[in-house]
């Protein structure tokens, strides 16, 4: 089969994966956006073959994947900063602990001590 067909397939795969990374980075930031984005970047890079320039689809996929990486990282940093701020404020910490207890039966301190034990 013609190599150009495989280049186009890889480029299209990069676009779809980067779209999945973008969407998941907005609605569900975490590990999956990173996985999708890294594969999008890789497929976009590999689609170049011996060409000097990337095909359009690969370029779009690479740009979107880099955007997804940035957005996901920003969302994670913002989430952890929010959590840190809440944990520092006694009133908000108590409210969070109450919410967690209503859902899981465990207080925030119980969960944190279990987490520390797991890390050890």
């Amino acid at each position: 089969m013609n190599k150009v067909i495989f280049q186009e397939r890889l480029g299209r795969s990069a676009v779809w994966l980067s779209a999945a990374a973008l969407i998941s980075s907005v609605f569900s930031p975490g590990i999956f956006p990173y996985v999708f984005a890294v594969f999008a970047i890789l497929f976009g890079l590999l689609s170049r073959g011996r060409d000097r320039r990337y095909k359009r689809a690969a370029r779009v996929g690479l740009i979107m994947a880099c955007g997804a990486l940035f957005i996901n990282t920003a969302m994670l940093v913002y989430s952890y900063y929010n959590l840190y701020t809440i944990l520092q404020d006694p009133v908000q910490r108590e409210q969070l602990s109450q919410r967690i207890y209503e859902q899981t039966g465990l207080t925030l301190d119980d969960m944190l001590s279990q987490f520390r034990q797991y890390l050890r």
Binding site: F6, L10, Y34, V35, A37, V38, F39, L42, G49, R50
Partner: protein
């Protein structure tokens, strides 16, 4: 005739992988599965004697290295054939090893012995420094580890294309192949090292995917090393040499 640049080698690697990502990643995953299975074997509980247990561990690690090294010949077969745009038949991937098993074991046995020698300083230092803590332990052991790592890196740079030579020249004997690898790599060791280092950013990026994408990066890297080998052959058979 000039040697190809790192970019050209990477371009050749990408070109060879087009349409063949399945088999190239598949052989990498097979190699990883064999490596993980063999690495899970251990000698703990066989004996209470510390010295004997250490020697058994070293011996087992050596045997595991040789066995996984033999699987590397299959990996090299796939990427060399991709580079030469030759068809790959699954049943032929380990044919060179099956037909020349003794030579394969000799080559890998010799290389793994060199790697073992390279790791001896750190093993001896950690045994001598046993009982110490903090910097007084880690400083000398860390230095010994660094020396061992550099020695191992040098061995890899000297014998970097031995796997491809074994697959490409099945009729040559082990000593001849090892000599040929040393000769071919003269003047190209730094380029070989830089080629591997050029994939470091992709490997680090692959960590974000929990290591899943590293199989694809390894396939890309192996394809580049195969392109490097082909380039070395091209340089050694240039017209003015006859």
């Amino acid at each position: 005739m000039q040697a190809k640049s790192i970019r050209d080698l990477q371009a050749d690697a990408r070109y060879s992988l087009l349409g063949h990502l399945g088999i190239s990643v598949g052989i990498i995953l097979f190699y990883l599965a064999v490596f993980m299975f063999l690495s899970s074997l251990n000698t703990s509980g066989l004996t209470e004697n510390i010295l004997l247990s250490t020697l058994l561990t070293i011996l087992l690690n050596y045997l595991v290295s040789v066995m996984t090294g033999i699987v590397e010949f299959g990996v090299s077969y796939v990427f060399l054939h991709l580079q030469l745009e030759q068809p790959i038949r699954i049943q032929e991937i380990f044919l060179p090893v099956r037909e020349n098993a003794d030579k394969a074991v000799r080559i890998k046995g010799y290389l793994c012995f060199l790697y073992l020698l390279a790791s001896l300083p750190s093993l001896i230092m950690s045994a001598v420094m046993n009982g110490r803590e903090g910097l007084s332990y880690w400083l000398p052991v860390g230095a010994a580890l660094a020396v061992g790592y550099l020695a191992r890196l040098f061995v890899t740079m000297v014998y970097g294309v031995i796997d491809y030579l074994f697959v490409d020249f099945p009729d040559s004997d082990a000593a001849h192949l090892l000599r040929a690898s040393r000769r071919m790599m003269q003047g190209h060791r730094l380029r070989f090292l830089l080629l591997h280092l050029s994939f470091l950013p992709l490997h680090l990026l692959g960590l974000l995917s929990l290591g899943l994408a590293n199989a694809w990066v390894s396939a890309y890297e192996n394809a580049a090393v195969a392109a490097f080998y082909i380039d070395l052959l091209r340089l050694r058979t240039r017209p003015d040499e006859g």
